[in-house]
Symmetry: C2
Subunit: 359 residues, 2 copies
């Protein structure tokens, strides 16, 4: 249908021009969009991905489809992307579903849920499973269409002023944690706060919060979190592969020429590929620097993981009982996760274990 | 500079239109290319990736940059891609560097080397490390430019008629194995043969070979290998993340309009993202079917991995001593591998281990 419209526009142009003689081949229009990001421009990982996508779209269209990227706070509050898209005040944004669980917990499926999928599983579910179809169906009610555009890989469990030795140590802990991880940890006694990246350092410095998780070594070092809290825990059981997404207002999307849609979609998949690679290249040296600077690396005690696992799955049962949109996506997601955990151990896991032992 | 040229072309078009003369809006030319693949069209993973890339390029250019994909054997022998590109008889191909180590073992760096990087590491090295720069410098001498366009993830160690319990069991084993894995295994007594995908089943059926590795559950099942040999070993220490590449004749590349170059490059990165997702979605159910059909899953004994590790690194030392091109890439590759093995255990590995235990 979109295609037909373009063809008829072209025909019109040819007719109009024919009277003057000149031959006009089909030329797509110049289109300018604004993209609001939830992230500061200091992060080569998250912000860098959005830059790569905007640059690619510009380059592939000879500058005619021009998306201007705005870092968090420039034209919108960091976490205001979904509201602005619904209002139609921006055409597109770069953000993560986890920030919007206050609207509906099902937003988390477009990013990560505690004890969810790692980056390999998430990419497979989105690309080849039902992930994209189901999250698009859900987001369509908000007038938004999502394009997976990055994944952090497994994250760290964050920065703590004091060691966390038992579930009891979480009691009353004021912590920055976004998404459903915050809901799960609050059931273990944590006082969870969903702060955007740029607000974490000041809150931790002032003592408004006692602990904070963001992503991993590179991003966390850039935000300066290591300067305030010295215990660095692993793993984040709440974000084992946090997908980032490009969100587009559905009307703006439908008004694009088909070629521009194709170019944008391809660029987002390129961003998806770039971001995990960026983390995997930037995190190892960052971790070395952090350890060298005295950061104390710790593993979350198993009873905390077990308590988190129990609390998470109780929460999921409650959501499933009362929220049909949640249940529809959750059932599909969990089946995909469970089907693939075993396989990834067979070749991938056995090779990685051998290499780790050799090292 | 390119940007400026485009803008001035547009200005010219507007001016020309105003005088009523023949307005030439900026229109990129129609270009047709042929892409020869090393793979049969039965594989949704490998062939499917090339299809996705060709379709994307066509869609993003409104059909004007049209690449026709030819499966292995249609216009070229499966492993004739590099020769044809050098001769200029095709514009592009889809293949894997591992097939061309007979020309120079350094071709393997564009795919995989034994005890090399997993898919996460390889993508990081290619995208953010020096991988792309170094492999392009090497391939430039062949008049070829490479675009990473897929990765199988960690592979299986293949199909064997008899159990492999010790290094001694490898002695005299006639086996299909491609790339440097074949060179390493030959040092352990294997008689290695580099057969293209389509020739593996007949060779195994006739008894020309006793064992064969290809990729993993999905691909191997499609090739029918499970019908002939019932012992299925893991892991492939020779292909822990085998990258596939789009190879383009450099002259053909340089003749492309800049927008088409950009669209092609983006599409290849999309293919890169797609392929691992496809394997991760298709392998788990394939493995279940294989096990259900009586396939015997086995882990390669540790002494075989250790012997392989030793033989591989001896081989690398020999190559490094006599082949400067090899050494330049190898030193960079190994440093990147060693720097990242540790980090991937910290968050990714600890999360994956927990989930595997829960299951």
């Amino acid at each position: 249908m979109q295609r037909r419209r373009l063809i008829s526009n072209t025909a019109l142009a040819v007719t109009a021009c024919a009277v003057g003689g000149p031959a006009i081949a089909q030329v797509n229009p110049t289109i300018r969009w604004r993209m609001a990001s939830s992230y500061p421009n200091s992060l080569q990982t998250l912000h860098g991905t959005a830059e790569i996508v905007c640059n690619r779209v510009r380059e592939s269209t000879g500058g005619k489809f021009d998306i201007t990227l705005h870092a968090a706070g420039q034209i919108l509050p960091a976490l205001g992307v979904v509201d602005a898209l619904q209002a139609g005040s921006i055409e597109c944004g770069y953000s993560a579903g986890a920030f919007y669980i206050g609207k509906d917990p099902a937003f988390a499926f477009d990013c990560a849920i505690p004890f969810g999928m790692n980056v390999r599983q998430m990419n497979a579910w989105m690309t080849m499973g039902d992930g994209l179809k189901l999250t698009r169906e859900f987001l369509n009610e908000y007038g938004i269409i999502n394009f997976p555009g990055g994944n952090t890989g497994a994250q760290m469990a964050g920065w703590y002023r004091k060691e966390i030795k038992s579930v009891a140590d979480l009691k009353g802990l004021k912590m920055r944690i976004s998404g459903l991880g915050g809901v799960v940890l609050s059931r273990l006694g944590v006082v969870a706060q969903n702060l955007p990246a740029g607000d974490i350092y000041p809150a931790l410095e002032k003592g408004t919060i006692d602990a904070a998780e963001f992503v991993g070594p590179y991003d966390d070092e850039r935000l300066g979190l290591n300067k305030i809290a010295k215990f660095y825990y692993t793993p984040s059981f709440w974000e084992a592969g946090a997908q980032q997404s490009f969100y587009v207002n559905t009307k703006a999307w439908n008004a694009l020429p088909k070629e521009y849609q194709s170019i944008f979609e391809s660029a987002c998949a390129e961003g998806q590929n770039y971001q995990t690679a960026a983390y995997d290249a930037l995190n190892p040296p960052a971790m070395k620097r952090l350890i060298g600077a005295g950061v104390q690396l710790r593993v979350l005690p198993r009873p905390i993981l077990d308590a988190g696992y129990k609390a998470a799955h109780e929460l999921y049962a409650e959501y499933s009982a009362k929220n049909a949109k949640w249940k529809k996506i959750y059932d599909n997601f969990i089946k995909f996760r469970d089907d693939s955990v075993g396989w990834l151990r067979v070749a991938e896991g056995s090779y990685d274990n051998y290499m780790a032992q050799r090292k």
